[in-house]
Point group: C2
Chain length 188, copies 2
């Protein structure tokens, strides 16, 4: 009555991410997780420790993948301003699925050092990459020179969160697109 074929740990983690994105930590039960991950309850505890450790692993992996995607969009275009635009555009297109980063920050604020460390590290590297790109765009004359790159980068990241939150609240695609467009236009 059992299937002792090794399961894919990363695939299972991705499934857990899907549940946590939708229901948060407190709103997720062990049963919801094992069902989505398609593994037995004991395997979950053997492999990931407990619910909190699994949650932290899920947030860490989610944030890592998400950061990589941001960086990839950011660096994909040759012109810096296009990289910034592509990053915002990607967020708009994928905004329908809830963001685990935002969910985690909303649910726990700064209460957990472990979570905060994950967020802070990702935020720092992303912020630095955006700052660099803003500087390049300024040099190319595509972004107002009187803008502080640090502030501009923080502003863009803030608007990434704004787009995702609006989507979670039910905003339609046109509204999300407008948010992305205006955020980028604010740098001109």
């Amino acid at each position: 009555m059992a299937r002792p074929k090794e399961f894919d740990k990363e695939l299972a983690l991705d499934a857990a991410i899907g549940v946590f994105r939708e229901h948060g930590f407190e709103g997720t039960s062990a049963g919801m997780l094992t069902e989505a991950m398609k593994i037995g309850r004991q395997s979950l505890y053997d492999t990931f420790g407990d619910k909190w450790r699994l949650y932290c692993a899920a947030v860490a992996r989610y944030v890592e993948v998400e950061t990589r995607a941001h960086l990839s969009a950011l660096r994909g275009a040759s012109r810096a301003i296009d990289g910034l635009g592509d990053m915002m555009q990607r967020v708009v297109v994928e905004a329908r699925r809830p963001c685990l980063g935002i969910g985690s920050i909303c649910e726990f604020g700064r209460r957990s050092g472990e979570l905060s460390a994950i967020h802070d590290a990702a935020h720092a590297s992303l912020q630095a990459a955006i700052v660099r790109r803003v500087g390049e765009a300024q040099a190319a004359g595509d972004v107002r020179p009187d803008l502080d790159p640090q502030e501009a980068a923080g502003f863009l990241l803030g608007n990434v969160a704004a787009i995702r939150l609006a989507a979670r609240g039910g905003a339609d695609d046109a509204h999300l697109a407008a948010l992305g467009r205006l955020a980028l236009r604010a740098l001109r």
Copy 2:
């Protein structure tokens, strides 16, 4: 061993709001509520029904008060652009306390019709008021005339959320102030 002096229902509700802001719905227990509200357990159920009804009442009241504060700042100044600035400035100053509106949207998305109705109504009235003010500011030459007032208003509201989320994530005051300043400057 009891104190049968009628308790203030509104005061108790405000205390409940304080707990829900910090811990969300799932993260809040009946015990946390009665302790904060300083009423007995049975009084809570007699007066507010159950935890979900209390939560909805808390969100409704929070959103109502918050919307009134926005409108008041918006209308306080004679020049429209100053009203918009005051609104953003107030958000920056009060961003340290978590927002129950954002928390509720993050936690439940569009899953509850009851909650969604509360948010939608408040959002509509606030959006309309900002649209009006943006139009006035355009007429006064303080906001770029090529901006769609609907989109500009949505943009400002999005940045309100961005400021509050950044604060929840641990951003310092200077960062929050920069977010408010840049959002407003984007309309120029």
